[in-house]
């Protein structure tokens, strides 16, 4: 089964602010921008609960002082979102196990890692897809070695 885990900063996200100001300077019509680390796992049946508990124990993934971690219901980008990952992948395996930061993830068959950007209007509503595409092509994705997944 697929398990999609999102880790988001709860403190101000300087990277998102820098990206937002750059996009606006480049003429992209976006008023708010959020960023999250996204892990999409293919896990064995019944392993999801243990996986989430394991991730909560990895300080390199999740620090409770500054992060929020949740399991997303959606396995694909929603409105106003673009997920960016590297074409040649970020999965690290050793001894047959998928690993993050050198630590094994029991029950995980495969893992994809994305940076998820959510582009919004001032009201918090998602921007139109053409704006997501413009932001993706202008700044958020380098197609030489990254791929972007939109709604």
């Amino acid at each position: 089964m697929i398990c999609c885990v999102e880790v988001r900063l709860t403190i101000p996200d300087n990277e998102a602010r820098t990206a937002l100001s750059t996009l606006r300077r480049l003429g992209v019509s976006v008023e708010r921008l959020e960023r999250a680390d996204l892990y999409r796992f293919d896990v064995e049946k019944d392993a999801e609960k243990d996986l989430v508990a394991t991730l909560r124990g990895f300080e390199t993934v999740y620090n409770p002082n500054k992060h929020a971690l949740r399991v997303r219901e959606e396995e694909r980008p929603g409105a106003g979102e673009v997920w960016v990952d590297e074409i040649d992948g970020a999965e690290v395996r050793s001894g047959g196990a998928v690993r993050i930061g050198g630590r094994a993830l029991p029950g995980v068959r495969s893992m994809e890692r994305f940076t998820a950007w959510k582009l919004m209007c001032a009201t918090g509503a998602a921007v139109p897809e053409r704006v997501v595409l413009e932001a993706t092509e202008t700044l958020l994705c380098n197609p030489a070695f990254q791929k972007a997944t939109r709604k």
Partner: protein, 266 residues
């Protein structure tokens, strides 16, 4: 002193001082230029050097934010006017993100990138050699180097692996955009000399016009013998003058100086 060279500083740049020293040691009248400098003043420089570091903390991607910095307006205009532009490490990443290199078909769009080292994506700091792999005259900055010149440098990056679509890589090779490849001290090339899994073994790219050079390893960190990493430094031990003598990395900065002198003479 030759023509005025701007060594550009973005927030997070950290190699500007040693780059400035190497420029000056090569006879260039170089100055540091901060990101908030007056753009008209920046336009007055005869050449630009983008040093290493972590411009804008590598936010979004290495070089991605700086590629859109207002300072780059002057660099783009300068490139179009034929001014030499040298980017080192993070400076090279900025040039690729900005599209100034490789600039296939003259397009200023991102066509390649330096991304996470292979195979494990880890940062590496290691002494390397790079070999000129295009005719010297192909690039303004290398025009005064001998053919197949081998230069020492320090690779110091987590994202130095050239990556691009297969068709782009084929064109980079066939159209002479791979200016330097990694090699051993004798100039032998091969996968074992490549510290980061870079496609084509590439250490540096040159643009179509030949006036932009984006090089990942740091020649300015092997510009004096005391920075060097083989028997040359060992021979210099106890001899201050020899230890402070020029090492091979300075050649690239002399190349820039020669390019500007040649331009001034025309």
């Amino acid at each position: 002193m030759s023509a005025l060279v701007g060594v550009l500083i973005f927030p997070g740049t950290n190699s500007e001082e040693e780059t400035l020293r190497a420029c000056r040691a090569a006879g260039l009248d170089a100055q540091l230029v901060h990101w908030n400098a007056d753009l008209d003043e920046v336009r007055g420089y005869a050449a630009y050097v983008l040093p290493g570091g972590f411009a804008y903390e590598d936010r979004v991607r290495a070089g991605a934010i700086a590629a859109h910095d207002r300072l780059m307006t002057a660099v783009r205009e300068g490139e179009a006017a034929g001014k030499p532009v040298l980017g080192i490490c993070n400076g090279a990443q900025i040039l690729l993100e900005s599209g100034l290199a490789p600039g296939l078909d003259g397009a200023a769009t991102t066509q390649a990138g330096f991304t996470r080292n292979a195979p494990l994506g880890k940062y590496r700091s290691t002494h390397v050699y790079v070999k000129l792999s295009v005719p010297p005259q192909r690039c303004t900055i290398t025009a005064s180097l001998p053919a197949n010149a081998v230069l020492p440098a320090w690779a110091s990056h987590g994202e130095g692996r050239l990556a691009a679509r297969p068709d782009v890589l084929a064109r980079l090779r066939s159209e002479g955009h791979v200016a330097f490849v990694y090699c051993d001290a004798r100039g032998n090339v091969g996968p074992e000399a490549v510290p980061n899994g870079s496609a084509l073994g590439a250490a540096a790219l040159v643009n179509a016009r030949g006036n932009v050079l984006a090089i990942m390893p740091h020649p300015e960190r092997d510009a004096w013998t005391y920075m060097h990493h083989d028997e040359e430094r060992e021979r210099a031990r106890g001899d201050a003058a020899a230890m402070l003598g020029a090492s091979g990395g300075i050649a690239l900065f002399r190349g820039l100086a020669n390019a500007l002198s040649a331009t001034a003479a025309r």
